[in-house]
């Protein structure tokens, strides 16, 4: 029960953070596979079943731009942050810093 509860809360906590991480990582152009590896190398492993639908959602929201391009004789879909995405990422990072600072103060104040 506790393990399941923790897992649900952990996923909930990760969900918002993952969006920030993906947007931040896509300041540099990536295709899905390299993006996933870059996130994993940064310590935020994400399975493809979560990543690709998220990329599509962020693109639909106008935060990402994508294009199919040939690389090494293979067609790949490259993603990058859109101008709107850059603005939103800046705001999200400010918000995240604020939340992080608040939580640290709350935890240390106990």
């Amino acid at each position: 029960m506790n393990a399941e509860l923790f897992e649900n809360l952990r996923l909930e906590l990760r969900r918002g953070c993952l969006i920030v991480a993906v947007l931040a990582q896509l300041r540099k152009e990536h295709y899905g596979y390299t993006l996933r590896k870059a996130l994993a190398d940064g310590g935020l492993a994400v399975d493809e079943g979560t990543l690709y639908p998220l990329l599509r959602r962020l693109e639909t929201q106008g935060l990402l731009a994508s294009e199919w391009r040939e690389e090494n004789k293979r067609n790949k879909r490259f993603y990058r942050l859109s101008p709107d995405g850059e603005q939103i990422l800046k705001q999200l990072l400010d918000e995240w810093q604020g939340i992080n600072g608040s939580i640290n103060r709350i935890v240390q104040g106990e």
């Binding site: 596979y33 079943g49 979560t50 690709y52 599509r56």
Partner: protein, 327 residues
């Protein structure tokens, strides 16, 4: 990579048409890259079992496709508890008693093969339950999709007042609480559905056929038609009152007591009739028809007695609620 093509094809089946090609191309490329990387690290080609293991980790094609489509629900978490309450009342308190106490006796007593008739009755009950579940689901799905702008125009100043409790009531913890959202929605929807069903019932006042038996409702049903209609319809304003004014427990208690009183009156009038359905048939013997009529009457008596007891208990609860006690 025939196995990969089969997997991608299976995923494609569950995807929306407009996005199929795009998603499949990207997913296929991602899996191919994973396969190539694994092969490079192992220094050998992957066989079908290895590829199957990779695909298994990716997930069932339907689940994989499901991640790409937005999550949608027919009935949301706010209405779902009320949906379950209405469903339980409709199936367990109405359909099952009608079939067990009225339909089954007529069907079984007028047939040469009671086993087959029992199975047929159970089947008809299952079909009626499926139909009822469908109707209730549609009603709740419509409610779920009510125009959201109506809710955006709300005014905090119009929110219902919290009732003041006396010190004695606060200490005793016996005071009735406000109407629950589930009860209010259940009353509202149940009122709409039962009123609709009762309006349809007028089509059968001249009689209806059940297998080879023609069933004619007694004249008493014509007398009580409009009172029963009013009882069904009363659930709509009652539920609505509960939603917009949940703290109005005493007013609700008065209204519900009034509905209970009318219901008891209707039950009394029905009980006084003594006979409720007339069975006729060209192919069934008078003895079998008499047996069927007898069991139908027994079923009606049990139904009326049960309804009277339940209504009486509810009336007592409403009196207690009106007097300020937890029912």
């Amino acid at each position: 990579m025939e196995l990969l093509d089969r997997y991608l094809n299976a995923v494609r089946f569950w995807l929306p048409n407009a996005q199929q090609e795009d998603i499949i191309a990207e997913l296929g490329e991602d899996i191919r890259l994973q396969v190539e990387e694994t092969e490079a690290s192992l220094g050998q080609k992957l066989n079908d079992d290895d590829l199957a293991a990779i695909l298994r980790r990716r997930g069932h094609p339907m689940l994989m496709a499901g991640r790409y489509v937005p999550q949608r629900s027919l009935i949301g978490p706010v209405l779902y508890p009320a949906y379950l309450v209405v469903m339980k009342i409709l199936v367990l308190w109405i359909l099952v008693p009608i079939f067990v106490l009225i339909v089954a006796p007529v069907t079984i007593a007028t047939t040469a093969n009671p086993t087959l008739a029992s199975i047929q009755t159970l089947w008809n009950l299952a079909m009626a339950a499926v139909f009822s579940v469908g109707v209730v689901t549609v009603v709740f799905a419509i409610l779920e999709r009510r125009p959201i702008h109506e809710l955006e125009k709300w005014d905090p100043l119009k929110l219902p007042r919290v009732p003041k409790m006396t010190a004695a009531q606060e200490l005793s913890l016996k005071a009735p609480g406000p109407t629950t959202r589930v009860n209010a929605i259940a009353e509202l929807v149940f009122g709409v559905i039962t009123t609709g069903v009762w309006i349809q019932a007028i089509r059968y006042r001249a009689g209806f056929d059940l297998n080879t038996v023609h069933i004619t409702p007694a004249h008493i049903w014509t007398i009580v038609y409009w009172p029963i209609f009013a009882i069904c319809l009363a659930g709509v304003p009652l539920g609505w009152t509960g939603l917009v004014w949940p703290s109005g427990s005493r007013l609700r208690a008065v209204i519900r007591f009034g509905i209970d009183a009318v219901t008891l009156g209707v039950i009394g009038v029905l009980a006084g009739a003594g006979s409720w359905l007339k069975l006729t048939s060209a192919t069934i013997s008078m003895t079998d028809l008499a047996t069927a009529t007898h069991w139908t009457d027994v079923g009606m008596k049990i139904t009326l007695a049960s309804a009277a007891i339940i209504t009486l208990i509810d009336a007592i609860r409403e009196v207690r609620r009106f007097l300020g006690y937890k029912p």
